[in-house]
């Protein structure tokens, strides 16, 4: 039965800091995530190449080289521990044996280094969600669904420590919402469609976790909030819209925890800060060191309450110093060293606030990630009973905080942004109380949505 969080886990801003979580996650090798140390989480992907049966040996060589390079560097820099995330690429989820083979390759090398040199490493497996496209039959049955679950289970059995996904329930609809900056449709996609899908999907993932011992960790609203962020960064859509979507996406991402996920929430879900505030579970975050994967306006502030610090993704190509994943890993390792040093000397709150203050004036997307703002919004958010109500409230709270910050000189917004802020707030204020009424009012206009795939 889904447990709905009615209070926030954190009540005191002083406790809400990087490297420490109220409910740390203990891994098989003894690493404790959220137990007082900020660890790097390294992500990587293939260089330009096709993934087919013919190229499979080359694919495996890439993953082998990447993992060895990272382990070598971990040894050199005496990193206290790290997580390697494998995000499978579509052919690897469609052919679960490929994804599982990649996972095994990575796990085996990490274990070898752990045995030989006491380097502590863990693996997060993130099958990509293939429930999209013309051939999809249904969200919760059929070939696509089965392949995803098979990949999870196979990878968990082969030694992956953490299971995550960036699920796409509601995304077909949210894409439209983003392009038109339609906030009602965004709330519908995230807190109705997304939440519904998350509940089904995560119930299964939690089950696989119980069966295999792998930890059901968390689910990024990437296809939603990061799509908006990237578009806002290109000046294609207003930043206030992207900021609101980020907060609304927390409602969706929380659902994994309502049905039993334990964290650490996935790196590219910046809404993780809300998840941590509400559930007390650890989170992964990414900021400046993830500029390789996407530019952003939250480079420093992202680390404030992180328990893992990630680079999001980098291709296995050669930079002047060596292979790019190793370069990224070194950068993360140094960031973490600094943060951990401040933890030892008792300066972690100061360092947190320096990071927050350095970014939050410039962009509403950064502003809504401020630890103080996150706590305040979270406290209000949990008062709403249903996902739909939470979605509405999330947007309104975001708008309110953004507006008052602007008025108090704490956040700079240009004219264009301000007029969008007004329009968007008004739209949300006028949304119906009643869920059915809301659904009726939005659904007709959703061109890409096939309600039958959601049993609607």
């Amino acid at each position: 039965m889904a447990h709905v969080f009615k209070t926030t886990a954190y009540t005191n801003l002083e406790d809400f800091v990087y490297g420490k979580a109220l409910k740390p996650v203990v891994l098989k090798n003894g690493m404790v995530i959220g137990g007082g140390v900020l660890y790097p989480e390294i992500n990587f992907t293939l260089p330009p190449m096709l993934i087919t049966k013919e190229t499979m040996s080359d694919v495996m060589r890439n993953y082998r080289d990447i993992t060895t390079g990272i382990c070598e560097r971990a040894k050199e820099l005496e990193v206290p521990g790290f997580v390697a995330e494998i995000e499978t690429l579509p052919p690897m989820t469609e052919n679960p044996q490929w994804g599982i083979e990649v996972c095994k390759t990575v796990v085996d090398i990490i274990k070898e280094y752990e045995a030989k040199y006491k380097i502590k490493g863990a693996v997060r497996i993130t099958p990509n969600d293939i429930r999209e496209g013309k051939e999809l039959e249904h969200m919760w049955r059929g070939r696509h669904w089965d392949s995803i679950l098979e990949t999870f289970e196979g990878c968990a059995m082969t030694g992956a420590d953490l299971m995550a996904i960036e699920s796409v329930g509601g995304k077909e609809t949210h894409d439209e919402a983003v392009m038109y900056c339609d906030i009602s449709k965004s709330i519908f996609a995230l807190s109705v469609l997304g939440a519904k899908d998350m509940e089904k999907l995560w119930t299964e993932i939690v089950r696989i976790g119980e069966k295999t011992g792998a930890v059901a960790s968390g689910d990024t609203a990437c296809g939603f909030a990061n799509t908006a962020m990237v578009l806002a960064d290109k000046n294609y859509i207003p930043k206030v819209f992207a900021a609101a979507v980020r907060v609304v996406s927390a409602v969706r991402s929380l659902v994994a925890f309502e049905v039993g996920a334990k964290g650490p929430h996935k790196d590219c879900g910046y809404e993780g800060v809300y998840v941590k505030a509400i559930t007390g579970t650890p989170i992964s975050m990414e900021g400046k060191t993830a500029a390789c994967a996407h530019l952003s306006h939250v480079g420093n502030i992202a680390v404030c309450v992180a328990d893992l610090w990630s680079n999001e993704s980098i291709q296995n190509i050669k930079l002047l110093a060596g292979m790019a994943p190793v370069v990224s890993f070194e950068q993360l390792a140094y960031d973490c060293r600094l943060m951990n040093r401040a933890m030892e000397t008792g300066d972690s709150l100061l360092l947190r606030d320096l990071h927050a203050d350095s970014d939050s004036y410039y962009d509403p997307q950064a502003y809504v990630l401020r630890p103080d703002v996150v706590l305040e919004i979270s406290k209000e958010l949990v008062k709403a009973e249903t996902h739909y109500e939470r979605g509405k409230r999330a947007a309104l709270l975001a708008f309110e905080h953004i507006r008052s910050a602007h008025e108090n000189g704490k956040l700079r917004l240009d004219e264009r942004e301000l007029s969008w802020l007004d329009n968007l707030s008004e739209t949300v204020e006028n949304l119906p109380e009643d869920l059915e009424e809301f659904i009726d009012s939005v659904m007709d206009d959703c061109e890409n949505l096939d309600p039958e795939k959601y049993d609607m």
């Binding site: 330009p48 579509p90 894409d175």
Partner: protein
């Protein structure tokens, strides 16, 4: 002419109803459909496109203008045929096999339409066979391919090779784009054009025909 300017402005403001109204008036005034299209509707889209490129308007504003544009051309359609006016060119667009990203492609489509192209959108995850078939059927001047993954960008080359196989390579210009694609990659796989963003894509398309 004042009314053409008004049409252009109505497009820029995304006022679909006004556009409809004004286009009908213009027709009644005896202005040719060609002129209404070029100096009114497309002029408006062109100006908005420039403002978009300069970061003065957002995508939703452009999309809404594009809808208004459609409203306008809808009315003109018959007259354009009578006058023998053709769209400045036809484009078949698709995201290649294995790749489901479509936001970038959709923006390119939007800007191409805004520039007066007729665009046939094959959607995402489209195999080379489907693309070849569409090129045969639609006979476009330009084939535009989008790819967002390093593991699918190579499929842009696969399509170009398939065009050669099918003896279609000379019949159509190929434009490629998408986040991981570069001018160097485009050159390497023998594409005719590349653009970094949607606004530039429309310019490149125009230069190709």
């Amino acid at each position: 002419m004042k009314i053409l300017e008004d049409i252009s402005l109505a497009i820029q403001k995304g006022k679909a109803r006004d556009v409809k109204q004004l286009v009908m008036e213009a027709l009644e005034m005896g202005i040719t459909a060609q002129e209404i299209l070029d100096k009114g509707l497309l002029d408006g889209m062109g100006k908005l496109g420039v403002r978009f490129k300069n970061n003065e308007v957002y995508v939703p504003e452009v999309l809404i203008a594009a809808r208004a544009l459609n409203n306008g051309t809808e009315i003109l359609r018959e007259r354009l045929v009578e006058e023998g006016v053709k769209p400045i060119g036809k484009v078949v667009i698709a995201t290649v096999k294995g790749d489901l990203h479509d936001i970038g492609k959709n923006l390119v489509k939007m800007m191409l339409e805004g520039a007066g192209f007729e665009v046939v959108d094959l959607g995402t995850d489209v195999s080379e066979d489907e693309i070849i078939k569409a090129v045969q059927q639609e006979n476009p001047q330009i084939l535009a391919l989008s790819a967002l993954l390093t593991t699918t960008m190579t499929n842009q080359k696969v399509v170009i090779d398939a065009l050669k196989e099918a003896n279609l390579r000379e019949k159509v210009k190929v434009m490629v784009g998408g986040a991981p694609v570069t001018q160097a990659f485009a050159d390497e796989i023998g594409a005719d054009g590349y653009a970094e963003d949607a606004a530039t894509a429309a310019e490149v398309a125009r230069s190709l025909i």
